[in-house]
């Protein structure tokens, strides 16, 4: 099974990368973008998808500073 983990800074944690991108967008002519948050994406093949949340707690994310969201993707090779 293919799994995807989305990791982002927790709400309330200052994200200077997101702020920088947010400031850059209007300069490039893209108006109306706000609350930009930058995180990490981890994709993995797993035999037992039920283990993924534990992997996040222990290694993939630091739950003190990051939220994570697990997506289990259908099919062997994942999406096109």
């Amino acid at each position: 099974m293919r799994a995807r983990v989305l990791i982002r800074p927790k709400e309330g944690i200052l994200d200077p990368q997101g702020q920088t991108v947010e400031r850059a967008l209007p300069a490039l002519g893209f108006a109306g973008a706000s609350h930009v948050r930058i995180g990490r994406l981890v994709e993995l093949e797993v035999e037992d998808p039920s283990q993924v949340p534990a992997m996040c707690e222990k290694l993939l994310a630091n739950p003190l500073i990051e939220d994570y969201e697990v997506q289990i993707l259908d099919g062997e090779g994942g999406d096109a």
């Binding site: 920088t20 290694l59 500073i65």
Partner: protein
Amino acid sequence: MKFGVVRFPGSCDEVDALLACRQFGDAEILWHGDRDLRGADAVVIPGGFSYGDYLRAGAIARFSPVMEAVTEFAREGGPVLGICNGFQVLCEAHLLPGALLPNLGLRFLFRQVELMVENADTPFTRGCVRGDRLSIPVKHTTGRYYAPDRELDRLESAGQVVLRYAPGDNPNGALRDIAGVVNEGGNVMGLMPHPEHAVNALTGPTGGRALFESLAAAEPVPA
């Protein structure tokens, strides 16, 4: 006092740490793959980029065999000092509260900072007096100390904030200017600045000496 200085793949300050320790006691390098602390009375986790800082700084190093031994040593009350990357490793290992986030300015920082000793009643700062100022360099990209507000209140009231950047000298956006903390037991300390680079007058201010000196004078924990 015998110091053990851990070397991970990607450590880069272990030799300076070793030489700093040797000014005050015996010291030897501990390899990350060993579980044996070789009779060390105090352990130093040095700066660098352990395991390439992959994933998050300190996230992989935390699971190395030597860290199992260090964790056990710390639980028995043995003194452990984490410097820069070592601080990050100790936070990831839950031996210290909080976490280190990327510097607010997103840049690598390399400069001298002034630190204030907030708690002189730890094995790491006994040679200091509260309010002492120490001049020590920082060099890091991920040094913004963070813990949730309530946790910060708790740390402050328990005296676990040991070092603060002097007013106006916070280089990285660390919450409440925190540069160094200890665990609840007071025997594990982490700090972002590099005391091991500040022990020899030949190369600059010697604000780091007080930490090694204090630690060298600490009572060894009976094995």
